[in-house]
């Protein structure tokens, strides 16, 4: 007997939740308990009184499972609203990465040239290394990191995706 895999698609979900102890464990635990995927997850409080947080989750799964994920998130008591940005778009998504690259001579110059093309900023430097700050879509950062790997990538820190619906209406 073999276990079959299903077709899956990427969705960016944006949640507003009560900013309380355990909320992140509640959300992340729901994904593990029900066997859903998390590609990235970000969380920070977003209101002046720190009462509400926004959680952005990038997940993937068959369309039926995505619907189920939204319904399951929506019934958690501290969840105010769940928006499927992918479904309700168009939307803007951004991720920030810090990319440490080491090298000397021509590699150093090439790293700076590529950084310029990707509009990455140098935020730290030594004689033998740079840390670049880059924002963009997940794909853009993947591409940048892929190029830096060929030059002398040391390590990467990424924030995960945040996103908002375009236009004047809230998510």
């Amino acid at each position: 007997m073999h276990i079959q895999e299903e077709y899956s698609e990427r969705h960016v979900l944006s949640l507003t939740v009560t900013n309380e102890a355990g909320i992140l464990a509640r959300i992340a635990g729901l994904f593990t308990a029900r066997g859903y995927n998390i590609d990235s997850l970000t969380v920070a409080d977003i209101t002046a009184d720190h009462a509400i947080s926004r959680i952005t989750i990038v997940t993937n799964g068959p369309p039926k499972v995505i619907d189920q994920i939204i319904a399951q998130l929506d019934r958690l008591v501290p969840v105010h609203k769940v928006t499927d940005l992918t479904e309700n778009g168009p939307f803007v998504e951004r991720e920030l990465a810090l990319v440490k690259v080491a090298g000397v001579g021509e590699d150093r110059i090439e790293a700076l040239r590529l950084a310029d093309v990707f509009r990455a900023k140098v935020v730290d430097t030594t004689i033998e290394s740079f840390i670049f700050e880059i924002t963009g879509t997940t794909e853009k950062i993947d591409n940048f990191v892929g190029l830096m790997r060929q030059i002398g990538l040391v390590e990467v820190g990424r924030t995960g995706v945040v996103g908002l619906i375009r236009g004047k209406e809230p998510n």
Partner: protein, 582 residues
């Protein structure tokens, strides 16, 4: 305002919320609460013998009265022992509030004595849970917890209270009605969906109502409305295990339970229907059988208060997110408003009668051995003289036989562990039900194996003088495990024989119960009558045929139309795909 201790605030909240009974077990981290209970005589505390027993008693109390069940246990092992019952309540949507003691806040995270991460452990087996670190927040949390446990899709809520929060003081005033910031269950259906449902129902040629525990949770009004809409449409009605009693078994429109051990007519009607109206049920795998062969020609309407139940396993044509009673009220009003009359369903009923004629619940007769089905049938017959009967069950063959052969006419009279399938549920549930219904005849139908999982509660029934009847169908096996081993593993009975069984009669007597043994079909009727007529708690060791199987049966991974009706159809082996299913 004069300040009160956290423990006193908690107890006053419980009184303000109308709590009459608390099932619990004391321990170090709840001593302040127990001391507060000592002074408040309005709340009856029932001392259990094991915390799991407390949770199932609370479930039995809740399911039979419609009120939330309340549990009070200590930290660490008290809380972890309660986890199975909490999970059971989540799966079967039972309103329950569990108060757990916790080590004082300054010791949390230090592996203190009897410390467990209760909110972490129960996060995914509760509807919601709280750790209260501030006595000023305690009253609000307790009131909110009861609100969440009892509204929307009901479920268990845990409140973890550190010991120093129980002792620290804060002002308490009964909270006014509050609006929750994010929790607002949808109870009223979209009128457009209601209109569409009514038109689909009026146009259907082969409709069937498939009802579940949601009808019972919605309250007695929902059961009355179900009867009304069934009467208006003349459509047949089947139900899940959890929904038994919402529709009267005596009605000619009743097809019996559906699913794995459901009737032939219920499963075939589901398969051939052109419209399924699912009311408060959730297309569980025990009900649907093989998904790609489930009701292939039916349009499906799904009424459920929990949006996540809709399209979870079976895609439906018309979702209605609402409380059952509210949705049925709207549907009935519109049906009458539009002047719909019941369609001519005579052709559909003729087919159903054909399936009924198979008499799928028939079982072989015997004059030597007591057939377990016959024991249930006799129990049903004998208990009809009682004013009010509540049946609880453990989990296994006896549970299915009780569901098949006991007729339920009213909601809240049938208490069983459906979703989680918890052996050890039925006996404590009977104790809880008896506490909530002191005048009723409460019978736990048990198996010899499952009854041992919470048998320590014999002492609880004795202590509170509860006249529960424990009717054990003793076949010396974990019967359902043995049956699956016979069907799937060529009768290799690996560890399913109940060796070293106690003498149940003597065991009962040791606790001050009356013990009765029934060993032959000749003694069955009189033995059951004696059980019912004997005052006080009675344990019955009913020795039944050892190798009986529960039929009809849809083997796992099979379609509704592939039902096995009797042992001659059993091959004793199964494909790996079928074996891999639960």
């Amino acid at each position: 305002m004069a300040e009160k201790s956290g423990a006193d605030i908690l107890v006053e909240c419980l009184i303000d919320l109308g709590v009459e009974v608390v099932f619990g077990y004391p321990g170090g981290a709840v001593l302040p609460i127990y001391d507060a209970l000592f002074n408040h005589l309005k709340i009856r505390h029932v001392l259990v013998r094991h915390e799991q027993g407390a949770t199932h008693m609370a479930e039995g109390y809740a399911r039979s009265t419609g009120k939330p069940g309340v549990v009070l246990v200590t930290s660490g092992p008290g809380a972890t022992n309660a986890v199975t019952g909490i999970t059971d309540a989540l799966m079967d949507s039972i309103p329950m509030v569990v108060i757990t003691g916790q080590v004082p806040t300054q010791l949390i995270g230090t592996d203190a004595f009897q410390e467990a991460d209760t909110v972490g452990i129960t996060r995914h087996c509760t509807k919601h849970n709280y750790l209260v670190k501030d006595p000023r927040k305690l009253a609000g949390v307790v009131h909110e917890a009861f609100h969440i446990a009892t509204t929307g899709r009901p479920g268990p809520v845990v409140i973890d209270i550190p010991k120093n929060v129980q002792i620290a003081t804060a002002p308490y005033a009964r909270p006014e009605t509050f609006e929750h910031a994010s929790y607002r269950p949808q109870t009223k259906a979209d009128p457009v969906a209601i209109a569409a449902a009514v038109e689909m129902l009026a146009a259907a040629e082969r409709p069937i109502f498939y009802t579940g525990g949601g009808v019972i949770n919605s309250g007695p009004e929902a059961s009355a409305l179900l009867r009304e809409i069934a009467g208006l449409t003349r459509a047949p009605v089947t139900s899940t295990l959890m929904g038994l009693g919402a529709f009267p078994a005596a009605s000619p429109q009743w097809l019996g339970m559906l699913g794995m051990h459901g009737t032939y007519e219920a499963n075939w009607a589901m398969n051939k229907a052109d419209l399924i109206i699912c009311v408060g049920a959730r297309f569980d795998d025990r009900v649907t059988g093989r998904l790609d062969a489930f009701a292939p020609n039916a349009k499906k309407i799904h009424i459920d208060i929990d949006r996540s139940s809709i399209n979870k396993t079976v895609e439906v044509d018309l979702p209605i997110v609402a409380d059952v009673a509210s949705a049925l009220t709207d549907m009935i009003a519109l049906w009458k408003d539009r002047g719909h009359k019941a369609a001519d369903l005579s052709e559909w009923w003729a087919r159903i009668d054909g399936w009924r004629a198979r008499n799928s619940l028939a079982y072989p007769e015997s004059c030597e051995e007591i057939m377990p089905q016959e024991a249930i049938a006799q129990l049903y017959k004998a208990s009809r003289s009682a004013k009010d009967v509540i049946i609880t069950t453990e989990v296994g063959q006896h549970q299915m036989w009780a569901a098949q052969h006991f007729g339920f006419e009213e909601p809240n009279k049938w208490l069983t562990s459906g979703g989680l399938g918890t052996m050890g549920y039925g006996f404590p549930a009977a104790i809880g039900a008896q506490l909530g219904n002191p005048e009723s005849l409460v019978v736990c139908v048990a198996g010899d194996a499952s009854v041992q999982m919470n048998i320590q509660e014999l002492g609880t029934a004795t202590q509170y003088r509860l006249p529960v009847k424990l009717f054990i169908l003793n076949n010396e096996y974990m019967g359902m495990v043995r049956q699956w081993q016979e069907l799937t593993y060529e009768s290799r009975y690996s560890n399913s024989y109940s060796d070293s069984l106690p003498d149940f009669v003597k065991l009962g007597e040791a606790y001050g119960w009356t013990g009765i043994r029934i060993e032959s079909p000749r003694e069955l009727e009189a033995g059951i009558r004696r059980m019912i007529e004997t005052p006080g708690p009675v344990i019955v060791d009913c020795r039944v045929a050892k190798l009986s199987n529960c039929f009809p049966m849809i083997p796992s991974g099979a379609a509704h139309t592939d039902m096995l009706l009797d042992p001659s159809q059993v091959e004793g082996i199964m494909s790996d795909e079928a074996k891999a299913l639960v």
